[in-house]
Amino acid sequence: MTERFTKAAARNIFYGGSLFFFATFIALTALSHNYVVNTSTDKKTLSEAVVRGKHVWEKNSCINCHTLLGEGAYFAPELGNVWLRYGGDKDPEGAVMALKSWMAAQPSGIEGRRQMPQFHLTEGEVEDLAAFLEWTSRINTQNWPPKLSG
């Protein structure tokens, strides 16, 4: 670093540049916020059941085993598209039924297999959870994940 590049210049570049990039980021966030609310997610079907289902998801900390849209722990399957894996897009009632019996059957107790806890969800809670997962499966994720396997 040469003498001509003074400390004051370095300081000004740091603070000025950081403010510039942060302002750009805020502006892009505003645009993205608008895009998420109006374009990539379905405003009309974001019902109370979906929001309740999101809280069921959070209350039982599903994210610390599963991933959702690729984020979370990597210990259990991706659930952003689980609704499609369960065939919910073609037979929604069948998918909800399947989810209910899956939740009721945990833990499997099979030796050497990862165990999902028994969360003691009520029937209504599983239905809300299904509504949340169904809504999530319709988010425009730029075609992620590449395969149905998640």
């Binding site: 984020e71 395969k147 396997s149």
Partner: protein, 449 residues
């Protein structure tokens, strides 16, 4: 130690190391569940184990940062802390909150977003703790000498507090939730935390190499400038597949590639300073941790981040063990190691002894770093196989996990080495203080007796 009030750092470092122990032990348990899945599955399911593992990490790193600040700010500002008492009350409150959170987690009391699982009242307590810290440190800086190191440290710490406020916003729209969740998570670890890291590293370099402050300060501005210029828009690499617009694939790919630059600069900086000074600081272990921190941060946060940050690659690797590999080495290299470096540096002064237990401390460096490197290689290999089988071939998740089971055994092996290294480190730091003196001096003194 030039100022009496620096002593509060000792309590912070002790608390941080306690939680470090919890983090590693619970991490070993999590690694065990991966290979023996029925372990404690009813009593303490994996989601709770992981919650404790990640939360303990974040909290011990923050306590370490607070301790580092209380140690270095008086020396930089050339004045006593505004209030050592407030600093101790702050620590007590924070440790109480952390322990309450962990106990609560065991009884399934938590909020449900990743890393932000703390119940609302603990989140509020964290804000109070942060305000106590900022008040104390800001007043200390204002009454004393202003240096670039304290300024950058303060900007970083204020940033940590400000961005944490986004943790209180949890909208019902999942995509929005995720978008603002990254305001805490990314803008912390790939933003303002780097300011804290760079300023601690700069402090260590000034102290240990004796290189002119003017030179170090220019480097510091360069490092933190590169960190924020790349890191802020680099947030875009989390906005590829969560319902945010497609243009983030371009912005995120470009800027997060540039996130390698600040870490590369840190490596050049650290080695240049050591090479320029030619002085050999007696605390060789602290020097090793400092240089190791720069190098491991470059590999873990820099290269392993770049490995999967380009959108077309991330499309396949997103949310696989590749991410886990990067996460482990990045946190260890950048943030665990800078804490272990400043603790190794400060402990002899805080305990009033010349550098001691050097050999043990250096051993712990190689054990922990070797273990983390091995763990990262194992998880990377697991992730590459997983990506191909699951994301290209389309095999089911559980089926693929069976195929990569061997790598989880290797990972656990790496974890055991880290655990042993941690115990050696704790003994070297807190154990009976033994002064390591060069043989010639020790021999000379014996002859004189």
């Amino acid at each position: 130690m030039k100022y009496e009030s620096q002593k509060v750092a000792l309590y912070y470092f002790a608390a941080a190391m306690g939680l470090f122990g919890v983090q590693i032990l619970v991490g070993l348990l999590a690694g065990t569940v991966y290979v023996l899945p029925n372990t404690l599955s009813e009593l303490l399911p994996f989601n709770i184990i992981r919650m404790i593992h990640t939360n303990a990490l974040i909290v011990w790193l923050l306590i370490g940062f607070f301790g580092a600040a209380y140690y270095l700010v008086p020396e930089e500002a050339e004045t006593e802390l505004h209030s050592p008492k407030l600093a101790l009350i702050q620590l007590g409150l924070f440790v109480f909150g952390a322990l309450a959170a962990v106990v609560g987690y065991v009884f399934r009391i938590h909020e449900g977003r990743e890393f932000l699982e703390q119940p609302l009242w603990i989140k509020a307590a964290i804000v109070v703790v942060a305000l106590m810290f900022l008040y104390n440190i800001t007043l200390t800086v204002l009454k004393g000498r202003r240096t670039v190191i304290t300024n950058i440290l303060l900007v970083g710490m204020w940033g940590i507090a400000v961005f944490f406020l986004f943790s209180f916003y949890n909208p019902g729209n999942l995509s929005l939730d995720k978008m603002y969740w990254w305001y805490v998570v990314h803008l912390w670890v790939e933003g303002v935390w780097e300011l804290v890291l760079a300023s601690i590293l700069a402090f260590l370099m000034i102290k240990m190499t004796g290189v002119d402050r003017e030179v170090v300060e220019k480097w510091l501005y360069a490092m933190v400038g590169l960190a924020l210029f790349s890191g802020i828009l680099g947030t875009g690499h989390h906005y590829y597949w969560i319902g945010t617009p497609g243009y983030w694939q371009w912005i995120g790919s470009l800027f997060s590639t540039l996130e390698v630059a600040p870490f590369f600069t840190m490596v050049v900086f650290a080695f240049m300073m050591v090479w320029k000074s030619g002085r050999r600081h007696p605390n060789k272990a602290a020097m090793l941790w400092s240089l190791g921190c720069a190098v491991f941060a470059f590999f873990g946060a820099g290269l392993w981040g770049f490995l999967h940050t380009l959108a077309p690659i991330n499309y396949y690797t997103h949310g696989t063990q590749v991410t886990a590999a990067h996460g482990h080495l990045a946190f260890y290299g950048a943030y665990a190691m800078i804490n272990l470096a400043i603790i190794t540096y400060a402990m002899p002064y805080l305990r009033g002894r010349a550098p001691y237990n050097q050999t043990l401390n250096i051993w712990s460096f190689w054990l922990m770093s070797g273990g983390m490197a091995f763990m990262t290689f194992a998880l990377t290999a697991a992730g590459i196989v997983q990506t191909h089988l699951q994301r290209v071939m389309g095999l089911g998740y559980m089926e693929v996990q069976e195929q990569i089971a061997m790598f989880y055994w290797l990972r656990l092996g790496g974890g055991v080495a880290v655990g042993i290294g941690m115990l050696v480190y704790l003994y070297a730091i807190f154990g009976p203080a033994r002064e390591d003196r060069p043989v010639a001096i020790a021999g000379g003194m014996q002859a004189a007796e």
